[in-house]
Symmetry: C2
Subunit: 451 residues, 2 copies
C-alpha cells in the first residue's frame, strides 16, 4: 500500500507492509530513524528501527543502509503524540536492495545546475518529486477537463511535411544518417498540430491535441527547449472571444484542483523559489481575466514609459512586437495577474489568422502571465478560401503543400478558433520553477541528449 494511504487513524496499531526508498537517516546504538518515501506524498514517513524489536541481522542492515536503498518492511503505524506525526515502527525487513554509498545525491541540498547533470537521479529529491507530481496531475486534469466538456482528443502526426508557423527552425527526420529516401527527404518534426487538427474540428466541432512539439532553434534561454508539450484546443462555430474564455476556464479548473491536492507541495516549492504560489493561484481563480487590444496595450506601455521612465529605449508604435519585458509589465504591473491581448498587427501574424476589416489587424490573441510572459497564443482562423490563398502567396509559402488545408475552406468551412498552451510554461507558472529545464523530465536543448 502507498504511504499516503497508510497515514490514517484507522491504521494505527495495525500490522502493515510498506515499500520505499531512504531519503534521510540518523542512527544511534539502539535506534535508527529513517525517512522512507515512495512518491505518494511529499514527506514520506518516518521509520523507527528499534534494536530491541528487530532481529540483529535486520537492525544491522537498517543501521548501515546507505541513502536511496530500497526496502519493503513490516511493522505498525504509530501516532507520535509529541510531534503529532505518524511514524512506522518496523519489526521485520521483507526485502531490500542497498544503494552504493557513492551515490552523487547526498543529504545536503544540491544546486539545480548540478541536478540537471544527474537527470536520471534528480527525481529522487523532494524538489523534483514536487514539480513532477504536479506536472503529472496537471496533464491528467487537462485531459479530464476536456473529457468532461466532451472535446475529442486528436493524435495529430509528429512526423509532418509542413511548418504551421511558416517560420522557425525545424528538425528533419531521416531513416539513415545520409539517406533521405524514407519520406522523400521531407519528413520534419511537427511544430504544432493545428493544421491537421482543423480537419478534425471541421467535423467533430470541439477538439484538442496534447502532444510533443519541436523547434530546432539553437538558443539557450530559460524559457526555450527543443522539445516541449503543447495543448491545442480548437472549436468550430466559435470566435476568438469564446476561445479566450475557454482558456480562462481551463486555467481556473487546473488551478483549483492543483491547489486542493498539492497545497503542501506548493508551500514547499514557494519556500524554495521565494514566491507565494498559493496566492498566485488563488488570484487567478478569483479574478476575471481582462482582454485588451494590442493598440490599448501600446497605450498602456507608452503611459508607463512616460510616467515611470520605464523601457527607455523603446518606441511603442503600431507594428512593434511586444518583448518579454513588455509582456511581463502588462501582466505583473498593469493587470496584476494574467491578461489577454488581442488584435495584433496583421503583417506579423501567421498566414492562417483571420484578418480584420480594418486592414491592419488580425484576430490573434496571447495570454500574458506574471514571471513567464506568453502562456497561450491563439487566433480565429481565416475562413475564406480566396483570402487564404492570397495570404499564402503574399507570405511566399508553398501553396501546393497546403492544398489539403485549403480544401477545408472549400468544403463548408465553419468559423473556427483555437489556441496553444505551452505546457511547460504552465508548470513553471504553477510551481515557480524559473528554468524550463527543470520542468521537463529529460530536457532536450542544443547538444543535450545524454539520457
Amino acid at each position: 500500500m502507498e504511504i499516503e494511504k497508510i497515514l490514517k487513524k484507522e491504521n494505527i496499531k495495525k500490522q502493515l507492509k510498506i515499500s520505499g526508498w531512504i531519503r534521510f537517516n540518523r542512527s544511534s546504538k539502539e535506534i535508527v530513524f529513517i525517512d522512507l518515501y515512495d512518491g505518494s506524498n511529499l514527506n514520506g514517513i518516518q521509520i523507527i528501527c528499534k534494536k530491541k524489536l528487530l532481529s540483529s541481522k535486520d537492525f544491522e542492515i537498517l543501521y548501515k543502509a546507505p541513502l536511496y536503498s530500497s526496502f519493503t518492511i513490516i511493522g505498525k503505524l504509530n501516532l507520535n503524540i509529541k510531534n503529532k506525526n505518524y511514524e512506522f515502527i518496523v519489526s521485520k525487513i521483507e526485502s531490500y536492495n542497498l544503494a552504493d554509498s557513492e551515490i552523487p545525491l547526498g543529504k545536503k541540498e544540491h544546486t539545480l545546475e548540478f541536478l540537471r547533470i544527474q537527470a536520471h537521479l534528480r527525481i529522487r529529491t523532494k524538489l523534483f518529486q514536487s514539480i513532477m507530481r504536479i506536472r503529472s496531475y496537471c496533464s491528467q486534469l487537462i485531459h479530464f477537463y476536456f473529457m468532461k466538456e466532451e472535446f475529442y482528443y486528436i493524435h495529430t502526426p509528429i512526423i509532418t511535411k509542413n511548418d504551421a508557423e511558416g517560420a522557425g527552425e525545424i528538425f528533419f527526420v531521416n531513416i539513415k544518417k545520409n539517406n533521405h529516401s524514407f519520406f522523400n527527404g521531407q519528413g520534419t518534426l511537427t511544430v504544432s498540430g493545428q493544421l491537421q487538427e482543423e480537419s478534425y474540428t471541421q467535423s467533430l466541432k470541439k477538439t484538442y491535441t496534447f502532444g510533443p512539439t519541436f523547434r530546432a532553434e539553437n538558443s539557450n534561454t530559460s524559457r526555450h527547449a527543443n522539445e516541449f508539450w503543447m495543448i491545442e484546443p480548437e472549436i468550430a462555430f466559435a470566435d476568438y472571444f469564446e476561445l479566450m474564455n475557454l482558456g480562462e476556464n481551463i486555467l481556473k479548473f487546473v488551478a483549483k484542483n492543483i491547489l486542493e491536492k498539492y497545497e503542501e507541495e506548493l508551500i514547499f516549492l514557494g519556500n524554495f523559489f521565494k514566491l507565494d504560489l498559493i496566492k498566485n493561484l488563488e488570484n487567478l481563480i478569483n479574478m476575471k481575466i481582462k482582454k485588451i487590444t494590442y493598440k490599448n496595450a501600446l497605450k498602456i506601455l507608452n503611459e508607463a514609459k512616460d510616467k515611470n521612465n520605464l523601457f527607455k529605449d523603446d518606441k511603442f508604435i503600431f507594428g512593434n512586437e511586444l518583448s518579454t519585458e513588455h509582456e511581463k509589465y502588462l501582466a505583473e504591473k498593469y493587470a496584476n495577474g494574467p491578461i489577454y491581448v488581442y488584435d495584433y498587427p496583421a503583417k506579423n501574424s501567421s498566414f492562417y489568422m483571420y484578418r480584420n476589416n480594418d486592414n491592419e489587424t488580425a484576430r490573434g490573441f496571447d495570454l500574458l502571465v506574471p514571471r513567464i510572459g506568453e502562456l497561450i497564443g491563439g487566433s480565429q482562423r481565416e475562413d475564406n478560401y480566396q483570402r487564404l490563398i492570397k495570404i499564402i502567396n503574399e507570405k511566399k509559402l508553398e501553396l501546393k503543400e497546403l492544398t489539403w488545408y485549403l480544401d477545408l475552406r472549400k468544403y463548408g468551412y465553419a468559423k473556427s478558433s483555437g489556441f496553444g498552451i505551452g505546457f511547460e510554461r504552465l508548470i513553471m507558472f504553477i510551481t515557480g520553477v524559473e528554468n524550463i529545464r527543470d520542468v521537463l523530465p529529460f530536457p532536450r536543448t542544443p547538444g543535450k541528449l545524454e539520457f
Copy 2:
C-alpha cells in the same frame, strides 16, 4: 449547444440554435430534409425545412445547399410521433458557408482505400467519426484510470539517443538535411519510453507514459505504422504477475466505459465489419484472463497441430517465436478471448528482462487477443547490476550509452515491472477496424506524408 445535448424531452417546442454540417439531403418543392451533424452523436439530427415557415431566401439556400455545407440555424425541436425520432423544424438561418459541390465525398459509400487518400476529409463520414470518437474517449479513459489509481504520467523524451529494444530500424533527427551537428548526429526518435521512465518509477513507484513511438521499418502490413501511440505503465516493487493483472484491469475498465457510452457506434461498426463488437467487449469484461507459460503454449499448439492438422509446416520447439497465426490460434480457438503467455525463451528476450533461474526463460509476457495477436508486451526488469552488464555485453550493446540506466541498479533499485499497450491495436480490437491506417488520424507509413 451540441446536437446530442438538445435531444431531450424538455427541449421540445423550445426555440433553439444549432450548428453543424450537412451529411445528407432530400428536397422537394415544399420541403427539404437535411441530416445535420456536429460530431456529438452518431446520427446528428434531421432538419425539416418547410417553405411556408422560412423566408424565400433561406428556403432557397437550404434547398440548394451542397453536402458538407455548414449551417447555424434557429428553430424548434419536435418529436416525430410516427418514427419516434427527434427532428428540428428550422425557422431561420443565422449563418452558413456553402461547400463546393465537387467535394470528393458523396452520398454513396466509399471504400476504405479511397478514404485513405482523402485523409483530411474522411473524418466527415459516419464510419470515421465512430472510430475516432471511440479512439478519443479511449485515450481519455486511460488517463482517467491512471489518475484514479494515482499513477504519475511521465513525458519521456521523443528525441533520444538509444533504442530500448536494441533492435529494429530507427529514425534519425537532424537539424538540416545534411547537417548532423545539432545533437552530434545522434538524435533518434524514441521506440519506447521505458528506459527513461524507469528512472522515474524508481522514485515515484507507479508511473506511465502515453505518447508517440516510432519504427523506421519499411514494411507495409495492416498492423504496422511508422508512428504509433503506446501506453507504458511501470510499477516499482511489483513482479510481472501484478502487471499482468493491471493490464487486465485497464482493458476491462476501458471496455466497460466504451460499451456504456458508445454502444450505438459499436453496433454501427459491427455491422460494417461483420463482427459482434458488443459481445467481444462483454466477453472481455466477464472473463478472467488466463495466464499460461510459453512452454504450455507450445504444448497447446503441438496438440492442435496433431489433432486438427493445423500449422502444417511448423515445428514447435523451445526457442521458436510464435507467429501471428499461432498467437491468434491461442486467443481465438484456445482461450476464446484474450490470453497471457509468459516466461519466453531468454535468448530472444530484450536485454532488460529478468532472467529466471532455469537459465532458459526470462520474465517476459504478452497479451494475445483475437483478430490482432499481440496487444500487450511486457516484462519484469533485470534488477541486478552485474547480471545486467553481462547481458548488455553478450548482446553487444553499447555499455557506455547505458551507464545512466545501469546507475538505477546501482543505487537502490526496487524490483520493477512494466508493459506497453499498442494503442492502435487496442482501438482495432474495440472497433473491429482491420487496418491500422484506419485508426490513425493521419497514418505515417513508408512514403506516406501528404498531410
